[in-house]
Amino acid sequence: MTAGQPIDRDALHALADGQLDPARAEELRAALGERPEARSVADYRRINAGLHALYDATLDQPVPDRLLRGPQAWWRHRRWARAASLAAAGLALLIVGAGGGWYARDSMIRMRQEQTAMVRPAAVAHRVYVAEVRHPVEVTADQEHLVRWLSNRLKKQIKAPVLDSAGFRLMGGRLLPGETGQAAQFMYENTQGRRLTIYIRNDIRGTRETAFQFGQEEGGINVFYWIEGRMGYAITGQMAREDLLPIAKLVYEQLEG
């Protein structure tokens, strides 16, 4: 390339955009030297960098929930399921696809994710700590800072539901590790020494919302749960589903009400 020969316009853009193969790019850089076109390439690069400076912040922002809804029909059904599930008293607790297509597949995927996010950790924490005879809880219920402490650690005002009407008394609670954040467990006991736990975590990934749902783990551990944004709530007990359901409703009403 001789000094006076104009340089191909498209090549200047391709050089600025990194769309030339390395040999061609090297050759062009050498040919540009101090020529005025070098200034164009630098300006194009500056424009690209400026675009990133202006707009990249969007990439790190949480995606608004409305963009994660998927097909509208599916979403409408889910909203309905959330409202209807409590009224249906356990009969409609599982969202099972009647509409077929995306709706069913999508809800199955979500349910698997929620099993992983809620049912498994709630059940494991339940199994580990209800078996404790001497140290079932970290802070006992008679210490009034219990709820304040857990609320502070979860960065969310939480409550310890009152389940006396179901025959269960609050024993206390403990702080647990979540996946990336924190989780809390409240433990309750009835006069027969049967225990149940409430598991609350603050690090659900993605912004989601679920209906009141049911899951099962090995050893007859039943879990009712729901997700509200980053927060997940689960009621876990080693008892029949129909016995756990009215207690789960009590918890739901007190925490959501």
Binding site: D17, A53, V63, L67, G70, W102, I109
Partner: protein, 171 residues
């Protein structure tokens, strides 16, 4: 490819669709409206998508077509308000000079003819190859290159302080 993998592929592109839409229409809410419309169309047509294809190009094509239709229906250039500095400028405040340059650039982008703006953004912001941009916009590559050139030269003039006089001032 399993359906949940396919679904995840789409979800992974949402932040990129939002960024492009934001730069394209200049307003967060209207940008997200465009993304939402695009996603709804994508979900409903996902079964039609060739599974060995480029899902990013496919999604951006849907978005481009929807936006182009909206612009056509409006029968005028899209309303493109001066960008609210607070909403687009980076969290760490750049120095005064960079601020001015970014502000001029944002104004320059807003003032570009829509067809040049799309090319400048797909190449410069989304870092797409020219062939991919040609596919998305359904244009010959020569047209892509000339729009890129004209768009960037306008922006250079805007950065040099020769902004088009019709521009409104940024608040």
């Amino acid at each position: 490819m399993a359906d949940d993998e396919l679904r995840q592929l789409v979800i992974d592109q949402i932040p990129h669709l939002r960024r492009y839409a934001m730069a394209l229409v200049g307003d967060r809410d209207r940008a997200d409206d465009l993304v939402q419309d695009s996603l709804e169309r994508a979900w409903s047509r996902l079964k039609l998508w060739r599974r060995d294809g480029n899902i990013r190009a496919w999604l951006f094509t849907i978005m481009h077509n929807l936006n182009a239709n909206a612009v056509r229906q409006a029968k005028r250039r899209p309303r493109h308000d001066p960008i609210d500095e607070v909403s687009v400028l980076p969290a760490t405040p750049p120095n005064q000079e960079q601020r001015l340059e970014l502000s001029l650039l944002a104004q320059g982008i807003a003032a570009l003819p829509a067809e040049q703006r799309a090319v400048v953004l797909l190449v410069g912001l989304e870092q797409m190859r020219y062939e991919e941009v040609a596919g998305i916009l359904d244009l010959p590559i020569g047209t892509v290159m000339s729009r890129l050139h004209r768009g960037r030269e306008r922006l250079r003039r805007a950065l040099a302080g020769e902004a088009a006089p019709a521009l409104r001032r940024i608040k």
